[in-house]
Structures are given as structure tokens and as C-alpha cells.
């Protein structure tokens, strides 16, 4: 019989799960106020998703275009998110991003410079001004390495290659700890903690064509859900318009938006620059309508409007999709992304070195000479764990969330570059919020041994079963299902089919089986992740089915327009009393009138207002 007292236990004030930008930032901040801070991650330190980010982090530093201001960043973010963002989160982000980027530089980040020697900023989709602080096309690497090199000198107890399985609570419903497993040995460990921060990232591994790694199995969503927390906005999955499409083995790997930011253009098989045909009404005033104007913009003319290739990701992804459907796709079913005709070979190698390398090695293609082939790839979750904006606490006491696994900041569609800055801003707030909460608790909450046993038994039974389902094949069928039925363009009947398949897979998953021992056994790890993937997939599919409109990244072929009615609602998913998933519409809180005014102001008015403010 399993005896919990034989399992190793460690106590923390604040424990962070996830060592990407958000988790590292939260842990570093927590050390300012809390004595015992822990950090765990599934892979090695420095390898989290954040390392893969390329283009940059958005902040209204105003180093390249002095007109920039947090209000304009805020307006861009809200419009990009189709106004569904949690107002206060978008405000906090826009107000604090610049300070956080400057702080990162003090911690050791070495950004590309402007002529004046300040942090350089580049253009990106949906951002009015050049706004993305960057280092070539390896900004995420710079960010994670900086936080890592800085964080290891703070008093943080780091456990690498350690998977969190499920959250423990006390009798009153407060967080009390988490049960984890070291991947190397298969040994279980219980971390007791006063407050717990989830920074586990997204769940894009539920799709077949994805830019996400094996880590993105929605563990944070599932653990929070099982602990009774509310999930929000899960129907909004961003499909990045430019993933690689050829050769098949690299399908989905990201081609940074930086390519378009540096002037790259999209063409169809007829050689036509098709984005001019897809400019939405709302963005007509702010987008170039001729190639001539777009060229002037690239040359640096501040009066020229932005080229349509830099419209928000949802728009560009749908446009490529439509071109392919209309039979004008590239050789392997995508669109052509051409930077070779727009910039010199030298510039390309300098500005986009890792893209140059990636295509050279993986596709045997020289992007300084030939166009790339690109198509939509599942990339980012706007939805996630519902949190309170200022503290980042979820609806469960003591459970916090930040980074990609939290909901609200990006609304229905995220602007490129707004994630990395989100990690810094909300990682910081989470570190403070969780420390404050922990300080106010007089003693460590107590979990029940029974709960811990159940979690461990669920995990070991996968190995002990005589026979059962192969987790790899289960994962493949889930990916097919999501790709075909819960993809970029959605319909009622396909979503229903998708939900039915998920229900079947859930049934099968009760009998999933991994061979071999508990030591570094990827088959077992895959099987453990299946539950999380299935909860995530179910929440996405059900929310997508309920939202009968098209907004941002959520596109319904049977409800093609944004609806006034749906603008009023978020979709919340939560575990019901009977153990099934409850998915409900919930009315949004009224917006702060001042924020609403800024978001709806015309660009000219807002620019004038900001200029006026600066004078006085």
C-alpha cells in the first residue's frame, strides 16, 4: 500500500510551475518578498517555448518613432483583440511593458541598437509604430537566457525535468501543494506551498500542424480545471499565417512575422500580391492600398500607410487559406513569402539570420534568392486560466497564472510581440501577487493524503496495466481530429463531430498503457499528457461550438460576422459537480469609460491628444 510519508516533501512560500519567460520572471520577482521560492519545469532550464520566440517584444519605448505612447499601444492591442481583451489587463500591459524591457536590459539583455545607441524597434503586424525590441530573429533566446543567467543567482530552488501532475488543496479549498514526478527517475515528490503560480504555456500540441513543441500539452489548463478553477476564451486559438509547409517533416515550424516586418510580401501562384484584396473595412484607413504606397512605407516614409501583409494574424491566415482554397496556392499548398525581391542578401542575413539558416538546412532553400512557401500553423492560445488582472489570481485561492496559460490579455487575437512583453509584465505581477498572498497566510495549508495517493495511483496505473491503448497513436488521432474538425475555419457540424471524437478518446484514455519502466520513459510521459490534452481540446471545441460568431482568431463558416450580442460575453469552462465540463456564456464587466474612449478613438485624434499631453 502506498504510504505518503515515504514520499519526499519540500515546502515553499511561492512555487512556480514553468520556466519560460513568465515563470522565470515570476520567480525572480517573488524572491524580493518571499523567503522560500521554488521553480519547476518539464525540460531543462533555458529550453522552454520562450527560447523559440523570434520577432521581438512590444513596448512603447518610442525609440524609433517618438510618437509612440502606451495609449496607442493599448489601442492597437484592443483592436487586434477585437475588443474582447480584459480592459484592465491590456491597460496594465501597455503601461508597464516599456519599464519591464528596460529592466531586462539592466539584467543583461543585449538588444539591437538604434543609431542613437538605444534599443532598436521593428515593425510588426497590427502595431502602429515600429515597436518590437529585438535581437535579430532570436529575441526569445535573448530573453530566456537573460532571465536564466540572472535568476540562478537569486535564491530560487530549481527542479528541472520535473513534471507537475496535479494540484493539492486543503479542506477550505485553498491551494496546498502539487504532486510532481522527476522525469529522469520516475520518482514522485510533493511540493507543499502557500501559493502556486502556473506559467505552463499553451496547448498547441493538440493540433497536427503546429509551431509548438512536445511541452505544449495544456498541463496548466488541465491542472487548474481539475482544481476547480475557471478557464476562459478557449475558442480563440491563433493560427499563425506563416508556418513552413515543405518538406512534410517540418510542416508547421514557424516563419517569423519579422520577415513581413522587414518588408517580405505574400504572393499567390499567379504571382499576384493578394493581400490588397483582403483589407477589412475597419483597417482600410490605416492600410496602404497600392504597391507604390507600401513601397514608400518600407523606404521609411512616415506618411505612407502600412502594407497589408502587416494586417493582424487572423486576417492574413484567413487570406492565405482562401487563396489556397481558390486554387491559387503555392506548389505545396501554401502561399509564397518573398523577401528576396525586397531586400538585399546582406540585409536578410543580418536581420533574419536564423530564418536564413532554418530554410537553408531544413528546406534546402536560399531565402535571399527564392521565395519561401508558407501556410497557417497553430501557434498560440489567447484563452486560458481566468485571472484577476492586478494580482493574477485565478478563481481558486492561492492559485495564480501568468504568461500564455492565463486568459484575458489578448482577447480574440494576439498581436505579434505582445506575448513576450506580456510575460514580463504579468510574470512580475504574479510574483508580487503570489508573495503577498503567501505572506498573509499564517500557516501552510494541509492537503489530504488521500488526494495525493489518488494522483500517484492514476499515474502509476498507466505503467502497471497489462495492456491498453498506445499513447502515441491516441495523440495522433487527437491531432487529426483537431486539425480537421476544430481548425482555422469552423462549422457547427464539424465541431460536433470533433466533440464526439474527443469523447471517444476520453473513454479510450481510461485504458492508456505505457510500456517499460518509470525511468525517463517518453511513452509514459506522453500518456500522462493525454489527459491534459483532452481536457484542453474539449474546452476549445465546446467553446468554439457555443460562440456563434466570427471574431478574431475564431472563424465560423456558418456565422461569418462579428455579433454585437457576443461582444458582451466571455465563455467560461469549468468542471461541474457531476464531473462533466460546464461551458457557459458569462456577461463581461463594463469597460472603464476612459479606456473605452481610448480604444475607440481615431488614430489621428489619439495622436493629437498624445502630442498635446507631451507639450504640457
Amino acid at each position: 500500500m502506498l504510504d505518503i510519508s515515504e514520499i519526499r516533501q519540500i515546502e515553499f512560500d511561492v512555487l512556480v510551475i514553468g520556466a519560460g519567460g513568465a515563470g522565470l520572471c515570476a520567480a525572480i520577482t517573488a524572491t524580493k518578498e518571499s523567503k522560500k521560492v521554488g521553480l519547476i519545469c518539464k525540460s531543462l532550464l533555458g529550453k522552454a517555448h520562450t527560447v523559440m520566440a523570434e520577432g521581438g517584444m512590444a513596448a512603447s519605448l518610442g525609440n524609433v518613432d517618438k510618437r509612440d505612447h502606451w495609449k496607442i499601444h493599448f489601442r492597437d492591442t484592443m483592436r487586434g483583440g477585437k475588443m474582447l481583451n480584459v480592459w484592465r489587463m491590456a491597460e496594465l500591459h501597455a503601461r508597464h511593458a516599456a519599464d519591464r524591457v528596460i529592466e531586462l536590459e539592466q539584467w543583461g539583455a543585449v538588444f539591437d541598437r538604434t543609431k542613437e545607441g538605444l534599443i532598436n524597434q521593428r515593425n510588426f503586424g497590427g502595431h502602429r509604430y515600429p515597436r518590437l525590441a529585438h535581437v535579430g530573429d532570436r529575441t526569445g533566446l535573448e530573453m530566456i537566457r537573460t532571465l536564466q543567467d540572472y535568476g540562478i543567482h537569486k535564491d530560487i530552488d530549481i527542479h528541472m525535468e520535473c513534471t507537475a501532475l496535479d494540484i493539492l488543496k486543503d479542506e477550505s479549498g485553498k491551494v496546498a501543494g502539487v504532486v510532481c514526478m522527476y522525469r529522469e527517475t520516475g520518482e514522485f515528490i510533493i511540493f507543499k506551498t502557500k501559493s502556486l503560480i502556473l506559467a505552463t504555456g499553451g496547448g498547441g500540441k493538440a493540433w497536427e500542424i503546429t509551431s509548438n513543441s512536445w511541452e505544449y500539452t495544456g498541463d496548466g489548463y488541465a491542472m487548474a480545471y481539475e482544481a476547480g478553477a475557471e478557464l476562459m476564451d478557449l475558442e480563440f486559438n491563433q493560427f499563425h499565417p506563416t508556418g513552413m509547409v515543405w518538406p512534410p517533416s517540418v510542416k508547421g515550424i514557424l516563419v517569423t512575422e519579422g520577415v513581413r516586418g522587414e518588408g517580405g510580401i505574400l504572393k499567390n501562384s499567379e504571382g499576384k500580391r493578394f493581400m490588397f484584396d483582403y483589407i477589412p473595412e475597419k483597417f482600410k484607413n490605416e492600410t496602404a492600398d497600392t504597391e507604390e504606397e507600401a513601397a514608400r512605407w518600407l523606404a521609411g516614409d512616415k506618411d505612407a500607410r502600412r502594407p497589408p501583409e502587416l494586417l493582424t494574424r487572423d486576417v492574413v491566415a484567413r487570406a492565405i487559406n482562401a487563396e489556397v482554397k481558390a486554387g491559387r496556392g503555392s506548389k505545396h499548398g501554401g502561399a509564397y513569402l518573398d523577401i528576396a525581391s525586397e531586400r538585399s542578401a546582406e540585409d536578410i542575413k543580418k536581420k533574419l539570420p536564423s530564418m536564413y539558416h532554418q530554410f537553408k538546412v531544413l528546406a534546402e532553400l536560399d531565402i535571399t534568392k527564392e521565395p519561401m512557401e508558407v501556410g497557417p500553423t497553430c501557434h498560440y492560445f489567447m484563452g486560458g486560466i481566468r485571472v484577476e488582472a492586478d494580482t493574477t489570481m485565478s478563481t481558486v485561492d492561492g492559485l495564480f497564472a501568468c504568461g500564455e496559460c492565463a486568459a484575458g490579455m489578448h482577447g480574440a487575437n494576439r498581436l505579434g510581440g505582445n506575448s513576450l512583453s506580456d510575460l514580463l509584465v504579468f510574470g512580475n505581477l504574479a510574483g508580487m501577487g503570489a508573495s503577498k498572498y503567501a505572506k498573509e497566510l499564517s500557516e501552510m495549508p494541509k492537503f489530504s493524503d488521500e488526494d495525493a495517493k489518488r494522483i500517484i495511483r492514476n499515474a502509476t496505473s498507466i505503467l502497471n496495466r497489462e495492456e491498453g491503448e498506445n499513447p502515441y497513436l491516441m495523440h495522433e488521432s487527437l491531432q487529426n481530429n483537431m486539425q480537421n474538425n476544430v481548425g482555422i475555419i469552423r462549422t457547427d457540424s464539424e465541431l460536433q463531430e470533433g466533440i464526439k471524437n474527443i469523447e471517444n478518446l476520453k473513454e479510450k484514455n481510461k485504458n492508456v498503457k505505457a510500456n517499460g519502466s518509470s525511468q525517463f520513459n517518453p511513452g509514459w510521459h506522453e500518456a500522462l499528457a493525454m489527459r491534459n490534452l483532452l481536457i484542453t481540446a474539449e474546452a476549445v471545441a465546446r467553446a468554439a461550438h457555443l460562440r456563434t460568431e466570427s471574431r478574431g482568431a475564431h472563424t465560423r463558416d456558418d456565422f461569418r460576422d462579428e455579433s454585437e450580442e457576443w461582444y458582451q460575453y466571455n465563455i467560461i469552462s469549468k468542471k461541474g459537480e457531476d464531473g462533466t465540463m460546464q461551458v457557459i456564456k458569462e456577461r463581461r464587466k463594463d469597460a472603464d469609460p476612459e479606456l473605452e474612449r481610448i480604444a475607440n478613438a481615431t488614430l489621428e485624434d489619439l495622436e493629437a491628444e498624445v502630442a498635446e499631453e507631451r507639450k504640457s
Partner: protein, 248 residues
């Protein structure tokens, strides 16, 4: 491209063997894809590390036919169609299981290094640090490192001489170089570079530079200039003082 033969190390630090596998290989596949196929079909519990599948995270370091490489950036068509592909773990680190090794020693070396210490002079402004692009280029070049540890794996000082407590290895020599060449860093690491981090152990064989997937000029741009600074310091203290004062 048809069916291909593989030999993959299965086992741990105490015992193990090369096991034969076959796998259908299609156009464009890299070695990591083949490992995943084998894992899904025939060897569910075969351990391997990976994350980004695009040469950005440095997780998938292994030895392929004896050469240290990133499995995700090594295309199958680099090998002739009848060649058997042998995949083994990095030699310099203890094996955890199959192709996964214990690289924790590297994390310990990093912790020994004094981190970035921003100087508080007039170039540290409200708008951030003021530094020219030309002056940060060297540092940025070293910061491309993805911590794959392939260089640590081939360095004979670590691999053959077992000098793991005397030399931090090429990866951390360039970490040191990136800090020393940072125009706004104030700390002095030269004595420690000589005494603690073991710059004298490196005899410039350049094996590290040869395997670096990021093409970082580890030896010529990093280690040699550091060695020069060490030599300068201990031969000509006035020169150092002079340089420190006029450091931009």
C-alpha cells in the same frame, strides 16, 4: 527515400547496447524525425530530448555516426542511402538513459560566473543603456549560443583529461567573453578567468569551434582574446589601468 537502417544506443551508464531499428524515411526528414518514428512504432520508451525542432533550443544534441550534432538539424540525405546511421549519447557526460545524458555539470559552471553588472555611468539612462551597435556586436555574437553543449562534449580538456573542476569549458569561456566585452559591464573577471575558470587549460585546438551549430567563433573571437587579456594583466598592470579608464 525508402527504408533505412539505424543503430541506437539503448541502456544507461552501467550497461547498454546498440539496438537495430528500421524506419521508412521520406523527403526532407531529419534524424530526429526518424528517432520519433522509431519511438512511436517500435520503442515507446526510448528516451530522447528535443523541444524546438528548428535548431533554436539546443536540446537534441547526440552523436551521429560518432560526430556530435543536433539531431533536428541533421538531414537524412546527408548520408548515403545504404549507410547505417548510428545514434549514441554525448560521450563526455554520464548517460541517464538511451541518448539522454546528465548535463547538470554545465549548469553548475554557469552559476560560478559573476553575472552582468551594469555600470552606473552617464550611459545608463532612463531610456536604457546607451551603446552603439558596433560595440555590442561581439557580445551579441556570443549570445547566439543555444547551450547545446556540443563544444563542451568535444573539448579534450573536459573529455579526456577529466579536468571538470579546473576548466569551465568553451561554452562558458564565451559566456565570460560576452560579459567582458559588454560595453556597459563593470565587473572584473580577469583574475577569476585565470585562476578559477582555467583559461590556461585550453590549448587552442579549435575542436569546439568546429562543432558549434551556431557558427560561433569560440576560439578565435572568444577564448584567444580572453587569454590575451589575462596575459596583459599579469605582465602589464599599467596597460590594464589605462584600458579600464578609457573603456567606452
Amino acid at each position: 527515400m525508402g527504408n533505412r537502417k539505424f543503430k541506437i544506443y539503448r541502456g544507461d551508464n552501467t550497461k547498454g547496447e546498440l539496438v537495430d531499428y528500421n524506419c521508412d524515411v521520406t523527403e526532407g526528414m531529419v534524424v530526429l524525425d526518424a528517432m520519433h518514428r522509431i519511438q512511436a512504432d517500435d520503442a515507446n520508451d526510448m528516451a530522447c530530448r528535443w523541444n524546438c525542432k528548428a535548431g533554436k533550443c539546443g536540446s537534441c544534441s547526440v552523436e551521429i555516426n560518432g560526430r556530435p550534432k543536433l539531431a533536428c538539424m541533421t538531414r537524412m540525405n546527408e548520408y548515403s542511402p545504404d549507410e547505417t546511421i548510428m545514434i549514441t549519447p554525448l560521450k563526455s557526460f554520464p548517460i541517464i538513459k538511451d541518448t539522454v545524458t546528465d548535463v547538470s555539470w554545465n549548469y553548475k559552471q554557469n552559476k560560478r560566473i559573476k553575472p552582468f553588472s551594469p555600470s552606473q555611468n552617464k550611459n545608463n539612462t532612463e531610456k536604457g543603456l546607451v551603446m552603439q551597435q558596433v560595440d555590442v556586436e561581439r557580445t551579441q555574437h556570443f549570445r547566439k549560443c543555444i547551450e547545446c553543449y556540443l563544444c563542451q562534449n568535444v573539448c579534450h580538456v573536459i573529455r579526456d583529461q577529466g579536468a571538470q573542476d579546473k576548466f569551465v569549458g568553451p561554452r562558458f569561456m564565451i559566456r565570460l567573453a560576452s560579459l567582458e566585452m559588454h560595453p556597459m559591464d563593470d565587473a572584473d573577471r580577469i583574475p577569476a578567468i585565470k585562476e578559477d575558470y582555467g583559461s590556461g587549460m585550453c590549448n587552442i585546438t579549435r575542436c569546439c569551434t568546429e562543432v558549434c551549430p551556431e557558427d560561433i567563433q569560440i576560439t578565435d573571437d572568444g577564448i584567444i582574446p580572453l587569454k590575451e587579456r589575462v596575459v596583459d594583466r599579469y605582465f602589464d598592470p599599467f596597460m590594464i589601468l589605462f584600458r579600464k579608464i578609457f573603456k567606452k
